[in-house]
């Protein structure tokens, strides 16, 4: 709670030159050490046209190299799994599976989430122009899409990390329509034991 309050009051300054490279390298070396990551999340969608907010909650589990399990518990149960290039979703008892290549948007979203959770922002630099900012306690990575296809879906993506631990605290996605989705993560557990069976979704 205090971390978020600081983020709102302290102003961020742009990092440049050697400072920027040092932050990037620290983030990257920290991300390289992450084999598993588990966390809770609260997602808030701001619907600009309706002046409305939709809140969703759930858990995320990541296991190296590219397995990501995203479980929404509220407002209804929805499971999303990215596993070895395949995407599986489960909703209302129905499971469907498809190759991630057939849904470039979902593939990119998974890449953003994994990179965001781990702190591997370097892997996103081919798709996004990135700026690194800090307010002393946090690092904000501001990303703007490089290509038209991504820019038609995302106007900007902000990743917020703790400057001391390099652990992600929020991911905020702004859309061209004016809507925003922010995902705040909590109870982050790094390199705990994650059984492969967790990723068996049928």
């Amino acid at each position: 709670m205090s971390v978020q309050a600081n983020a709102q009051t302290a102003s961020f300054v742009n990092l440049e030159g050697s400072q920027r490279e040092a932050f990037k390298n620290n983030l990257y070396s920290s991300s390289e050490k992450i084999n598993t990551l588990e966390c809770n999340f609260v997602q808030k969608q701001i619907l600009s046209m309706l002046s409305d907010e939709v809140v969703s909650k759930g858990t995320m589990t990541f296991k190296k190299t590219d397995r990501l399990l995203w479980i929404y518990n509220s407002p209804y149960e929805f499971v999303f799994l990215m596993n070895n290039g395949r995407i599986t979703t489960k909703s209302g008892g129905k499971t469907s599976s498809f190759d991630s290549g057939s849904s470039p948007l979902m593939k990119e979203l998974c890449k953003i989430m994994v990179a965001g959770l781990k702190g591997d922002t370097k892997s996103l630099e081919t798709s996004f122009n990135t700026k690194y900012l800090t307010n002393g306690t946090q690092i904000k990575v501001v990303m703007n899409p490089r290509n038209k296809s991504l820019a038609s879906v995302f106007k900007q993506i902000d990743l917020l990390f703790d400057a001391g631990t390099f652990i992600v605290s929020s991911i905020e996605m702004a859309e061209p329509s004016g809507d925003k989705t922010s995902i705040s993560v909590s109870n982050v557990k790094i390199n705990g034991t994650v059984d492969d069976k967790v990723f068996d979704i049928h």
Binding site: Q43, Q45, L47, M49, L50, D52, E53, V54, V55, S56, W70, Y72, P75, Y76, F78, F80, T89, S91, G92, K94, S96, L105, L109, S149, S152, V153, M173, E175, S177, D179, T181
Partner: protein
């Protein structure tokens, strides 16, 4: 090339066959108390043939009686925004993957009927005794000469949930809305 031309032909046929909507005069701008104070959220399932996509549909009514709606997937990526007013739907935003003339034409027509007859009947469904067989909301028997063919809208209330479904048999499109409990404060 043949596949591409077949798709174009199909698109032209579907568009040219889409009949003009003639909504019931009394339902052009229904007053829906449930969505005038604050938006109502639904779990939405949009099925097209054997494919389906789920997400959240938020709807509210403005003071001028226009019904506003937003459909996003679970991750917050917007599918479309619409405004239903005077019996017509304006798609304010459509995600690039859906931004096709044929898709938009079908969506506009079906959302108009869904808003006017389905969402516009939320209050009526709330008062319905739970567990009863779904109520046919469209076609309205009183207006059988004005109604669209091949479209059925039904509603029900089960376990404090409002359920509204639109079936567009012509285009094999189905929209299911199941109301969600209000967000926790």
């Amino acid at each position: 090339m043949i596949k591409y031309l077949t798709f174009i032909s199909l698109a032209v046929i579907l568009c040219s066959c889409t009949p003009k909507m003639t909504p019931a005069t009394g339902l052009l701008n229904p007053m829906v108390p449930e969505i005038t104070v604050s938006p109502m959220h639904f779990k939405a399932t949009i099925s097209f043939g054997t494919n389906s996509v789920t997400g959240i549909m938020a709807v509210k009514q403005r003071s001028d009686l226009a019904i506003l709606g937003s459909f996003t997937n679970e991750f917050g990526v917007k599918g479309f925004d619409f405004i239903y007013q005077d019996g017509k739907t304006d798609l304010v935003y459509v995600m690039p993957a859906l931004n096709r003339k044929m898709i938009k034409k079908i969506l506009r027509k079906d959302i108009s009927l869904l808003s006017g007859y389905g969402i516009g009947s939320i209050g009526r469904l709330s008062n319905n005794k739970p567990g009863k067989t779904p109520v046919v909301l469209y076609p309205d028997p009183a207006e059988k000469y004005k109604t669209e063919k091949d479209i059925l809208i039904s509603g029900n209330s089960i376990d404090q949930k409002i359920i509204v479904a639109l079936e567009d048999f012509r285009h094999k499109l189905r929209i299911d809305l199941v109301s969600l409990p209000p967000d926790e404060e």
